[in-house]
Protein backbone atom coordinates (compact mmCIF):
# COMPACT_ATOMS: atom_id res chain seq x y z
CA UNK A 1 0.00 0.00 0.00
CA UNK A 2 2.61 2.46 -1.08
CA UNK A 3 0.18 5.22 -1.92
CA UNK A 4 -2.03 4.81 1.15
CA UNK A 5 -3.33 8.11 2.43
CA UNK A 6 -1.80 9.56 5.57
CA UNK A 7 -4.21 10.06 8.44
CA UNK A 8 -3.00 12.17 11.36
CA UNK A 9 -4.45 11.62 14.82
CA UNK A 10 -4.11 14.47 17.33
CA UNK A 11 -5.20 13.61 20.87
CA UNK A 12 -3.62 14.27 24.26
CA UNK A 13 -5.10 11.06 25.62
CA UNK A 14 -2.71 8.15 25.62
CA UNK A 15 -5.45 5.52 25.33
CA UNK A 16 -6.57 7.01 22.04
CA UNK A 17 -3.04 7.39 20.69
CA UNK A 18 -2.37 3.75 21.53
CA UNK A 19 -5.58 2.20 20.23
CA UNK A 20 -6.77 4.28 17.31
CA UNK A 21 -3.69 4.08 15.00
CA UNK A 22 -3.90 0.29 14.77
CA UNK A 23 -7.56 0.44 13.82
CA UNK A 24 -7.01 3.10 11.19
CA UNK A 25 -4.01 1.20 9.88
CA UNK A 26 -6.17 -1.88 9.70
CA UNK A 27 -8.58 0.10 7.51
CA UNK A 28 -5.65 0.40 5.09
CA UNK A 29 -4.34 3.90 5.83
CA UNK A 30 -1.01 5.22 6.96
CA UNK A 31 -1.16 6.77 10.42
CA UNK A 32 0.77 9.25 12.47
CA UNK A 33 -0.30 10.18 16.03
CA UNK A 34 0.44 13.47 17.80
CA UNK A 35 0.03 14.46 21.42
CA UNK A 36 -0.90 18.07 20.70
CA UNK A 37 -1.95 20.48 17.96
CA UNK A 38 1.37 22.26 18.37
CA UNK A 39 3.29 19.04 17.78
CA UNK A 40 1.29 18.37 14.65
CA UNK A 41 1.88 21.88 13.27
CA UNK A 42 5.60 21.58 13.92
CA UNK A 43 5.83 18.25 12.10
CA UNK A 44 6.47 17.65 8.42
CA UNK A 45 3.14 15.83 8.12
CA UNK A 46 0.91 18.88 7.68
CA UNK A 47 1.29 19.04 3.92
CA UNK A 48 0.95 15.28 3.46
CA UNK A 49 -2.02 14.68 5.75
CA UNK A 50 -5.13 13.69 3.85
CA UNK A 51 -7.40 13.63 6.89
CA UNK A 52 -7.10 14.76 10.48
CA UNK A 53 -8.70 12.87 13.37
CA UNK A 54 -8.75 15.63 15.94
CA UNK A 55 -9.61 15.73 19.63
CA UNK A 56 -11.55 18.82 20.73
CA UNK A 57 -10.43 19.50 24.32
CA UNK A 58 -6.69 19.57 24.70
CA UNK A 59 -4.35 21.60 26.86
CA UNK A 60 -2.78 24.46 24.93
CA UNK A 61 -4.23 24.70 21.44
CA UNK A 62 -7.65 23.02 21.25
CA UNK A 63 -9.03 21.08 18.26
CA UNK A 64 -11.17 23.98 17.00
CA UNK A 65 -8.12 26.29 17.45
CA UNK A 66 -6.16 24.03 15.12
CA UNK A 67 -9.05 23.97 12.67
CA UNK A 68 -9.00 27.79 12.55
CA UNK A 69 -5.21 27.91 12.31
CA UNK A 70 -5.21 25.52 9.34
CA UNK A 71 -7.91 27.57 7.66
CA UNK A 72 -5.84 30.72 8.24
CA UNK A 73 -2.88 29.02 6.59
CA UNK A 74 -5.02 27.92 3.69
CA UNK A 75 -4.49 24.24 4.48
CA UNK A 76 -7.61 22.39 3.42
CA UNK A 77 -7.32 19.18 5.45
CA UNK A 78 -10.63 17.38 6.07
CA UNK A 79 -11.21 17.05 9.80
CA UNK A 80 -13.01 14.35 11.76
CA UNK A 81 -13.43 15.57 15.32
CA UNK A 82 -13.51 13.14 18.21
CA UNK A 83 -14.56 14.13 21.69
CA UNK A 84 -15.29 12.65 25.09
CA UNK A 85 -17.82 15.35 25.88
CA UNK A 86 -20.97 14.68 23.97
CA UNK A 87 -22.12 18.21 23.20
CA UNK A 88 -24.62 18.27 20.29
CA UNK A 89 -24.48 22.10 20.02
CA UNK A 90 -20.72 22.11 19.62
CA UNK A 91 -21.00 19.26 17.12
CA UNK A 92 -23.47 21.26 15.05
CA UNK A 93 -21.21 24.30 15.13
CA UNK A 94 -18.11 22.33 14.09
CA UNK A 95 -19.93 20.70 11.20
CA UNK A 96 -21.16 24.14 10.12
CA UNK A 97 -17.56 25.29 10.09
CA UNK A 98 -16.66 22.52 7.66
CA UNK A 99 -15.76 19.47 9.71
CA UNK A 100 -16.49 16.16 8.01
CA UNK A 101 -17.90 14.65 11.16
CA UNK A 102 -17.77 14.87 14.92
CA UNK A 103 -17.76 11.53 16.72
CA UNK A 104 -18.33 11.01 20.42
CA UNK A 105 -16.06 8.67 22.33
CA UNK A 106 -16.19 5.72 22.61
CA UNK A 107 -15.84 5.79 18.86
CA UNK A 108 -18.06 3.63 16.73
CA UNK A 109 -15.80 1.80 14.27
CA UNK A 110 -18.25 1.84 11.39
CA UNK A 111 -18.96 5.53 11.83
CA UNK A 112 -15.25 6.28 11.82
CA UNK A 113 -14.60 4.31 8.66
CA UNK A 114 -17.53 6.03 7.00
CA UNK A 115 -16.22 9.47 8.04
CA UNK A 116 -12.70 8.68 6.77
CA UNK A 117 -14.07 7.50 3.45
CA UNK A 118 -16.16 10.64 3.15
CA UNK A 119 -13.14 12.78 4.01
CA UNK A 120 -11.04 11.13 1.33
CA UNK A 121 -13.84 11.14 -1.23
CA UNK A 122 -13.89 7.34 -1.30
CA UNK A 123 -17.63 6.82 -0.93
Amino acid sequence: MADASLIAIVDDDVSVRQSLPDLVRHFGFKVQAFVSAEEFLASDCVDRTKCLILDIAMPGMSGPDLQRELARRGQKIPIVFITGQADPDLRRQLLAEGAVDCLFKPINTTALLKALNTALGLS
Partner: protein
Protein backbone atom coordinates in the same frame (compact mmCIF):
# COMPACT_ATOMS: atom_id res chain seq x y z
CA UNK B 1 -30.77 28.19 93.91
CA UNK B 2 -31.21 24.58 94.83
CA UNK B 3 -28.72 22.99 97.13
CA UNK B 4 -27.83 19.41 96.41
CA UNK B 5 -28.02 17.10 99.37
CA UNK B 6 -24.36 16.41 99.30
CA UNK B 7 -23.45 19.99 100.02
CA UNK B 8 -25.74 20.36 102.99
CA UNK B 9 -23.25 19.12 105.58
CA UNK B 10 -21.25 22.21 104.69
CA UNK B 11 -23.54 24.53 106.59
CA UNK B 12 -20.90 24.93 109.24
CA UNK B 13 -17.93 24.71 106.90
CA UNK B 14 -19.30 25.56 103.50
CA UNK B 15 -16.37 24.88 101.29
CA UNK B 16 -14.33 22.25 103.00
CA UNK B 17 -15.34 18.82 104.13
CA UNK B 18 -13.60 17.52 107.20
CA UNK B 19 -12.91 21.08 108.22
CA UNK B 20 -10.82 21.12 111.38
CA UNK B 21 -11.26 24.18 113.62
CA UNK B 22 -7.82 23.60 115.08
CA UNK B 23 -6.41 24.57 111.69
CA UNK B 24 -7.48 28.06 112.62
CA UNK B 25 -4.95 27.90 115.41
CA UNK B 26 -2.33 26.94 112.92
CA UNK B 27 -3.28 29.84 110.70
CA UNK B 28 -3.85 32.55 113.24
CA UNK B 29 -1.52 31.55 116.07
CA UNK B 30 -2.68 31.19 119.65
CA UNK B 31 -6.41 31.42 120.36
CA UNK B 32 -7.47 34.98 120.76
CA UNK B 33 -7.16 36.40 124.20
CA UNK B 34 -9.62 39.03 123.30
CA UNK B 35 -12.93 37.21 123.14
CA UNK B 36 -14.44 40.06 121.14
CA UNK B 37 -12.15 39.41 118.17
CA UNK B 38 -13.04 35.75 117.62
CA UNK B 39 -16.58 36.27 116.24
CA UNK B 40 -15.24 38.85 113.79
CA UNK B 41 -12.52 36.48 112.57
CA UNK B 42 -14.98 33.63 112.27
CA UNK B 43 -17.46 35.79 110.41
CA UNK B 44 -14.78 36.91 107.97
CA UNK B 45 -13.68 33.33 107.47
CA UNK B 46 -17.23 32.15 106.92
CA UNK B 47 -17.76 34.93 104.41
CA UNK B 48 -14.55 34.03 102.57
CA UNK B 49 -15.42 30.37 102.52
CA UNK B 50 -18.87 31.08 101.20
CA UNK B 51 -17.34 33.24 98.51
CA UNK B 52 -14.85 30.52 97.58
CA UNK B 53 -17.66 27.98 97.43
CA UNK B 54 -19.58 30.24 95.06
CA UNK B 55 -16.50 30.69 92.89
CA UNK B 56 -15.94 26.93 92.84
CA UNK B 57 -19.52 26.35 91.87
CA UNK B 58 -19.45 28.99 89.18
CA UNK B 59 -16.24 27.66 87.65
CA UNK B 60 -17.08 23.97 88.22
CA UNK B 61 -13.73 23.65 89.90
CA UNK B 62 -13.03 21.88 93.15
CA UNK B 63 -9.87 21.83 95.20
CA UNK B 64 -8.13 18.98 96.95
CA UNK B 65 -5.17 18.23 99.13
CA UNK B 66 -3.76 14.72 98.96
CA UNK B 67 -1.19 13.25 101.31
CA UNK B 68 0.47 10.59 99.27
CA UNK B 69 1.77 8.42 102.09
CA UNK B 70 -1.12 8.58 104.51
CA UNK B 71 -3.57 8.46 101.61
CA UNK B 72 -5.59 11.15 103.37
CA UNK B 73 -7.49 13.39 101.05
CA UNK B 74 -9.25 16.63 101.79
CA UNK B 75 -11.63 17.93 99.18
CA UNK B 76 -13.83 20.92 98.79
CA UNK B 77 -17.55 20.61 98.30
CA UNK B 78 -17.34 21.03 94.56
CA UNK B 79 -15.23 17.88 94.23
CA UNK B 80 -17.97 15.93 96.01
CA UNK B 81 -20.54 17.49 93.74
CA UNK B 82 -18.55 16.70 90.60
CA UNK B 83 -17.99 13.09 91.69
CA UNK B 84 -21.59 12.89 92.92
CA UNK B 85 -20.47 11.62 96.30
CA UNK B 86 -21.96 12.16 99.72
CA UNK B 87 -19.91 14.80 101.47
CA UNK B 88 -20.28 12.99 104.79
CA UNK B 89 -18.10 10.17 103.54
CA UNK B 90 -14.36 10.61 104.16
CA UNK B 91 -12.63 11.08 100.85
CA UNK B 92 -9.94 8.69 99.64
CA UNK B 93 -8.31 8.08 96.31
CA UNK B 94 -9.96 4.64 96.26
CA UNK B 95 -13.36 6.25 96.63
CA UNK B 96 -12.62 8.60 93.73
CA UNK B 97 -11.47 5.55 91.77
CA UNK B 98 -14.93 3.98 92.04
CA UNK B 99 -16.30 6.84 89.97
CA UNK B 100 -13.60 6.97 87.34
CA UNK B 101 -14.33 5.49 83.92
CA UNK B 102 -12.81 1.97 83.82
CA UNK B 103 -10.75 2.87 80.77
CA UNK B 104 -9.18 5.78 82.64
CA UNK B 105 -8.29 3.88 85.84
CA UNK B 106 -4.73 3.36 84.59
CA UNK B 107 -4.41 7.15 84.66
CA UNK B 108 -5.19 7.15 88.36
CA UNK B 109 -2.56 4.48 88.97
CA UNK B 110 -0.16 6.46 86.88
CA UNK B 111 -0.87 9.49 89.03
CA UNK B 112 -0.20 7.54 92.24
CA UNK B 113 3.04 6.29 90.81
CA UNK B 114 4.16 9.75 89.80
CA UNK B 115 3.26 11.04 93.22
CA UNK B 116 5.34 8.36 94.89
CA UNK B 117 8.21 9.39 92.64
CA UNK B 118 7.80 12.92 93.94
CA UNK B 119 6.80 14.46 90.63
CA UNK B 120 6.60 18.21 90.94
CA UNK B 121 3.18 18.25 89.41
CA UNK B 122 0.84 16.59 87.02
CA UNK B 123 -2.03 17.18 84.70
CA UNK B 124 -4.62 14.64 83.60
CA UNK B 125 -7.78 14.49 81.61
CA UNK B 126 -10.09 11.94 83.17
CA UNK B 127 -13.54 10.64 82.48
CA UNK B 128 -16.07 9.74 85.15
CA UNK B 129 -18.54 7.00 84.55
CA UNK B 130 -21.67 8.25 86.27
CA UNK B 131 -25.15 8.36 84.86
CA UNK B 132 -23.59 10.32 82.06
CA UNK B 133 -19.91 10.56 81.23
CA UNK B 134 -18.15 13.56 82.72
CA UNK B 135 -14.85 14.94 81.54
CA UNK B 136 -12.46 16.30 84.14
CA UNK B 137 -9.28 18.27 84.03
CA UNK B 138 -7.02 17.62 86.99
CA UNK B 139 -3.97 19.72 87.79
CA UNK B 140 -1.86 19.45 90.90
CA UNK B 141 1.48 20.52 92.26
CA UNK B 142 3.58 19.15 95.01
CA UNK B 143 4.33 20.89 98.27
CA UNK B 144 5.66 19.88 101.65
CA UNK B 145 4.22 20.32 105.07
CA UNK B 146 6.20 21.32 108.16
CA UNK B 147 7.42 17.73 108.64
CA UNK B 148 8.77 17.58 105.13
CA UNK B 149 5.96 15.25 104.04
CA UNK B 150 4.86 15.48 100.42
CA UNK B 151 1.38 16.37 99.52
CA UNK B 152 -0.32 17.54 96.41
CA UNK B 153 -2.63 20.48 96.18
CA UNK B 154 -4.68 20.69 93.08
CA UNK B 155 -7.82 21.53 91.26
CA UNK B 156 -10.35 19.34 89.51
CA UNK B 157 -12.46 21.03 86.91
CA UNK B 158 -15.55 19.61 85.27
CA UNK B 159 -14.87 20.39 81.59
CA UNK B 160 -17.72 18.27 80.23
CA UNK B 161 -19.56 21.13 78.59
CA UNK B 162 -16.43 22.48 76.93
CA UNK B 163 -15.45 19.01 75.85
CA UNK B 164 -18.85 18.27 74.37
CA UNK B 165 -18.94 21.53 72.46
CA UNK B 166 -15.44 20.82 71.16
CA UNK B 167 -16.68 17.44 69.97
CA UNK B 168 -19.76 18.99 68.39
CA UNK B 169 -17.55 21.55 66.71
CA UNK B 170 -15.26 18.80 65.45
CA UNK B 171 -18.22 16.84 64.07
CA UNK B 172 -19.59 19.95 62.46
CA UNK B 173 -16.24 20.64 60.84
CA UNK B 174 -16.06 17.08 59.50
CA UNK B 175 -19.58 17.36 58.12
CA UNK B 176 -18.83 20.71 56.51
CA UNK B 177 -15.66 19.27 55.03
CA UNK B 178 -17.69 16.42 53.58
CA UNK B 179 -20.20 18.83 52.10
CA UNK B 180 -17.39 20.84 50.57
CA UNK B 181 -15.88 17.64 49.23
CA UNK B 182 -19.12 16.54 47.68
CA UNK B 183 -19.60 19.96 46.13
CA UNK B 184 -16.15 19.75 44.57
CA UNK B 185 -17.17 16.31 43.33
CA UNK B 186 -20.00 18.12 41.59
CA UNK B 187 -17.54 20.49 39.97
CA UNK B 188 -15.45 17.56 38.83
CA UNK B 189 -18.27 15.36 37.57
CA UNK B 190 -17.77 16.20 33.90
CA UNK B 191 -14.02 15.73 34.21
CA UNK B 192 -14.34 12.45 36.03
CA UNK B 193 -16.75 11.17 33.41
CA UNK B 194 -14.20 12.21 30.81
CA UNK B 195 -11.42 10.58 32.78
CA UNK B 196 -13.27 7.25 32.90
CA UNK B 197 -14.53 7.57 29.34
CA UNK B 198 -11.02 7.83 27.87
CA UNK B 199 -9.79 4.35 28.79
CA UNK B 200 -13.27 2.93 28.09
CA UNK B 201 -13.09 4.43 24.65
CA UNK B 202 -9.66 2.84 24.26
CA UNK B 203 -11.10 -0.51 25.32
CA UNK B 204 -13.85 -0.29 22.71
CA UNK B 205 -11.45 0.69 19.94
CA UNK B 206 -9.01 -2.03 20.89
CA UNK B 207 -11.72 -4.67 20.98
CA UNK B 208 -13.02 -3.56 17.56
CA UNK B 209 -9.52 -3.60 16.13
CA UNK B 210 -8.93 -7.02 17.65
CA UNK B 211 -12.10 -8.40 16.00
CA UNK B 212 -11.13 -6.85 12.66
CA UNK B 213 -7.66 -8.37 12.85
CA UNK B 214 -9.01 -11.81 13.71
CA UNK B 215 -11.80 -11.63 11.11
CA UNK B 216 -9.52 -10.75 8.19
CA UNK B 217 -8.89 -13.33 5.44
CA UNK B 218 -5.44 -13.72 6.90
CA UNK B 219 -5.94 -13.19 10.63
CA UNK B 220 -3.28 -11.01 12.27
CA UNK B 221 -2.80 -13.03 15.45
CA UNK B 222 0.14 -11.02 16.80
CA UNK B 223 -1.69 -7.74 16.15
CA UNK B 224 -4.78 -9.09 17.90
CA UNK B 225 -2.66 -10.11 20.88
CA UNK B 226 -1.23 -6.62 21.12
CA UNK B 227 -4.69 -5.02 21.03
CA UNK B 228 -5.84 -7.41 23.77
CA UNK B 229 -2.85 -6.34 25.89
CA UNK B 230 -3.76 -2.71 25.33
CA UNK B 231 -7.33 -3.47 26.35
CA UNK B 232 -6.06 -4.72 29.68
CA UNK B 233 -3.89 -1.63 30.15
CA UNK B 234 -6.86 0.62 29.48
CA UNK B 235 -8.97 -1.40 31.90
CA UNK B 236 -6.33 -0.88 34.56
CA UNK B 237 -6.29 2.81 33.81
CA UNK B 238 -10.06 3.00 34.37
CA UNK B 239 -9.66 1.13 37.66
CA UNK B 240 -7.04 3.61 38.81
CA UNK B 241 -9.41 6.50 38.24
CA UNK B 242 -12.08 4.77 40.29
CA UNK B 243 -9.59 3.97 43.04
CA UNK B 244 -8.52 7.63 43.22
CA UNK B 245 -12.14 8.70 43.39
CA UNK B 246 -12.85 6.26 46.17
CA UNK B 247 -9.83 7.53 48.06
CA UNK B 248 -10.98 11.11 47.79
CA UNK B 249 -14.72 10.88 48.15
CA UNK B 250 -15.31 7.68 50.04
CA UNK B 251 -17.02 8.04 53.39
CA UNK B 252 -14.39 7.56 56.00
CA UNK B 253 -13.84 8.98 59.44
CA UNK B 254 -10.88 11.14 60.32
CA UNK B 255 -7.86 8.90 60.16
CA UNK B 256 -4.41 10.04 61.08
CA UNK B 257 -1.52 8.55 59.21
CA UNK B 258 1.82 9.40 57.74
CA UNK B 259 1.19 11.19 54.48
CA UNK B 260 3.59 11.56 51.56
CA UNK B 261 2.98 15.13 50.55
CA UNK B 262 4.13 14.72 46.96
CA UNK B 263 2.14 11.54 46.44
CA UNK B 264 -1.16 13.09 47.56
CA UNK B 265 -0.42 16.12 45.41
CA UNK B 266 0.13 13.90 42.37
CA UNK B 267 -3.09 12.01 43.03
CA UNK B 268 -5.10 15.21 43.20
CA UNK B 269 -3.45 16.46 40.02
CA UNK B 270 -4.27 13.20 38.24
CA UNK B 271 -7.93 13.56 39.19
CA UNK B 272 -8.28 17.16 38.20
CA UNK B 273 -6.06 17.18 35.14
CA UNK B 274 -8.81 16.90 32.60
CA UNK B 275 -10.81 19.57 34.43
CA UNK B 276 -7.76 21.82 34.12
CA UNK B 277 -7.46 20.92 30.44
CA UNK B 278 -11.09 21.69 29.92
CA UNK B 279 -10.49 25.11 31.42
CA UNK B 280 -7.41 25.42 29.23
CA UNK B 281 -5.07 25.73 32.15
CA UNK B 282 -1.46 24.70 31.73
CA UNK B 283 -0.07 23.09 34.81
CA UNK B 284 3.53 23.16 35.92
CA UNK B 285 4.67 21.16 38.95
CA UNK B 286 7.77 21.62 41.04
CA UNK B 287 7.72 18.90 43.66
CA UNK B 288 10.71 18.90 45.98
CA UNK B 289 12.56 15.64 46.19
CA UNK B 290 12.96 13.99 49.57
CA UNK B 291 10.25 15.96 51.24
CA UNK B 292 9.56 14.85 54.82
CA UNK B 293 6.18 13.21 55.40
CA UNK B 294 3.46 14.91 57.38
CA UNK B 295 1.04 13.40 59.85
CA UNK B 296 -2.61 13.87 59.15
CA UNK B 297 -5.79 12.89 57.44
CA UNK B 298 -4.92 12.02 53.87
CA UNK B 299 -8.40 12.65 52.48
CA UNK B 300 -8.72 16.03 54.14
CA UNK B 301 -5.31 17.16 52.93
CA UNK B 302 -6.19 16.07 49.40
CA UNK B 303 -9.38 18.01 49.69
CA UNK B 304 -7.47 21.17 50.56
CA UNK B 305 -5.12 20.72 47.61
CA UNK B 306 -8.08 20.07 45.32
CA UNK B 307 -9.83 23.20 46.59
CA UNK B 308 -6.77 25.34 45.96
CA UNK B 309 -6.37 23.85 42.51
CA UNK B 310 -9.98 24.37 41.49
CA UNK B 311 -9.97 27.89 42.94
CA UNK B 312 -6.87 28.76 40.96
CA UNK B 313 -8.42 27.40 37.76
CA UNK B 314 -11.61 29.32 38.50
CA UNK B 315 -9.66 32.54 39.07
CA UNK B 316 -8.21 32.23 35.56
CA UNK B 317 -11.43 31.34 33.76
CA UNK B 318 -11.91 34.79 32.28
CA UNK B 319 -8.27 35.39 31.38
CA UNK B 320 -7.73 35.63 27.63
CA UNK B 321 -4.73 37.94 27.22
CA UNK B 322 -2.16 35.69 28.87
CA UNK B 323 -1.49 32.02 29.47
CA UNK B 324 -3.60 30.37 32.13
CA UNK B 325 -0.55 29.11 33.89
CA UNK B 326 -0.82 27.27 37.18
CA UNK B 327 2.19 26.30 39.27
CA UNK B 328 2.06 23.77 42.08
CA UNK B 329 5.14 23.62 44.23
CA UNK B 330 6.06 21.57 47.27
CA UNK B 331 9.10 22.45 49.31
CA UNK B 332 10.57 22.19 52.78
CA UNK B 333 10.02 25.22 54.99
CA UNK B 334 12.55 25.94 57.70
CA UNK B 335 13.84 22.71 59.20
CA UNK B 336 10.64 21.07 60.32
CA UNK B 337 7.81 22.10 58.04
CA UNK B 338 6.65 21.42 54.52
CA UNK B 339 4.86 23.88 52.30
CA UNK B 340 2.62 23.57 49.28
CA UNK B 341 1.83 26.57 47.16
CA UNK B 342 -0.51 27.05 44.23
CA UNK B 343 0.26 30.03 42.06
CA UNK B 344 -2.18 31.22 39.43
CA UNK B 345 -2.19 33.96 36.84
CA UNK B 346 -5.82 34.84 37.46
CA UNK B 347 -7.70 37.90 38.55
CA UNK B 348 -5.94 38.01 41.92
CA UNK B 349 -7.32 39.99 44.87
CA UNK B 350 -6.78 43.26 46.65
CA UNK B 351 -4.34 43.00 49.57
CA UNK B 352 -7.03 44.10 52.03
CA UNK B 353 -9.18 41.16 50.94
CA UNK B 354 -6.55 38.61 51.93
CA UNK B 355 -8.40 37.65 55.12
CA UNK B 356 -11.95 37.99 53.82
CA UNK B 357 -11.21 35.24 51.32
CA UNK B 358 -11.17 32.78 54.18
CA UNK B 359 -14.47 33.78 55.71
CA UNK B 360 -17.22 31.24 55.30
CA UNK B 361 -19.77 32.11 52.63
CA UNK B 362 -17.56 34.81 51.14
CA UNK B 363 -17.48 34.08 47.45
CA UNK B 364 -16.82 35.83 44.19
CA UNK B 365 -18.12 32.94 42.13
CA UNK B 366 -21.68 32.79 40.93
CA UNK B 367 -22.04 29.09 41.64
CA UNK B 368 -19.80 28.90 44.68
CA UNK B 369 -20.93 28.35 48.25
CA UNK B 370 -17.93 30.17 49.62
CA UNK B 371 -16.98 27.44 52.04
CA UNK B 372 -14.02 25.94 50.19
CA UNK B 373 -11.34 28.20 51.57
CA UNK B 374 -12.76 28.49 55.06
CA UNK B 375 -13.07 24.72 55.31
CA UNK B 376 -9.56 24.35 53.89
CA UNK B 377 -8.18 26.72 56.47
CA UNK B 378 -9.90 24.91 59.32
CA UNK B 379 -8.56 21.58 58.04
CA UNK B 380 -5.03 22.93 57.86
CA UNK B 381 -5.27 24.54 61.29
CA UNK B 382 -6.55 21.31 62.80
CA UNK B 383 -3.34 19.77 61.44
CA UNK B 384 -1.27 22.37 63.27
CA UNK B 385 -0.60 24.26 60.07
CA UNK B 386 -1.28 27.60 58.46
CA UNK B 387 -3.01 28.56 55.21
CA UNK B 388 -2.65 31.96 53.63
CA UNK B 389 -2.98 33.89 50.40
CA UNK B 390 -0.85 36.58 48.86
CA UNK B 391 -1.05 38.57 45.64
CA UNK B 392 1.68 37.82 43.12
CA UNK B 393 4.18 40.44 42.04
CA UNK B 394 2.74 39.92 38.56
CA UNK B 395 -0.85 38.95 37.78
CA UNK B 396 -2.69 36.45 39.94
CA UNK B 397 -2.36 35.15 43.45
CA UNK B 398 -0.62 32.44 45.41
CA UNK B 399 -2.36 30.30 48.00
CA UNK B 400 -0.12 28.29 50.24
CA UNK B 401 -0.17 26.22 53.36
CA UNK B 402 2.51 24.80 55.56
CA UNK B 403 2.34 21.86 57.94
CA UNK B 404 4.65 20.52 60.60
CA UNK B 405 6.71 17.69 59.22
CA UNK B 406 5.97 14.18 60.45
CA UNK B 407 5.54 14.56 64.21
CA UNK B 408 2.29 16.32 64.82
CA UNK B 409 0.03 15.77 67.77
CA UNK B 410 -2.54 18.24 66.56
CA UNK B 411 -5.27 15.68 66.14
CA UNK B 412 -4.54 13.81 69.31
CA UNK B 413 -7.20 15.68 71.22
CA UNK B 414 -9.87 15.04 68.65
CA UNK B 415 -9.00 11.39 68.49
CA UNK B 416 -9.80 11.07 72.15
CA UNK B 417 -6.44 10.91 73.82
CA UNK B 418 -7.11 11.27 77.48
CA UNK B 419 -3.71 10.89 78.97
CA UNK B 420 -1.58 13.93 78.85
CA UNK B 421 1.01 13.85 81.59
CA UNK B 422 2.33 17.37 81.65
CA UNK B 423 5.73 18.45 82.85
CA UNK B 424 6.30 15.60 85.21
CA UNK B 425 9.87 16.15 86.14
CA UNK B 426 11.17 14.40 89.16
CA UNK B 427 11.75 16.48 92.17
CA UNK B 428 15.35 17.14 92.88
CA UNK B 429 14.64 18.18 96.40
CA UNK B 430 15.11 15.65 99.16
CA UNK B 431 12.03 15.13 101.31
Amino acid sequence: MSQSTCSEPHQSAPACSGFDPSSLTATFGAPCQDGRLLPTVLATLTRHEALLAEIERASSTGGFCWHVYTGKMTCTGEVYRIFELDAAVPMTLQLLGTRVHPDDLPLLHDMTERARMEANGFEYQLRLSLQTVKYLQLNARRSEDADGQSHYIGAIQDVTRRRLSEEALGNMRCELARVARVSSLGVLTASIAHEVNQPLSGIMTNASTCLQMLGADQPDIEGARETARRTIRDGERACEVIARLRALFGKRGGKTESVDFNAVTREVIALSLSELHRRRVTLRTELAEELPAVTGDRVQLQQVILNLLLNAAEAMSGIEDRRRQLLIRTEPEAADRVRLSVQDAGVGFEPHDAERLFQAFYTTKSGGMGIGLSVSRSIIESHGGRLWAEPNAGPGATFAFSLPARKSDCNAKRLGTVLRPAVAERSTRKP
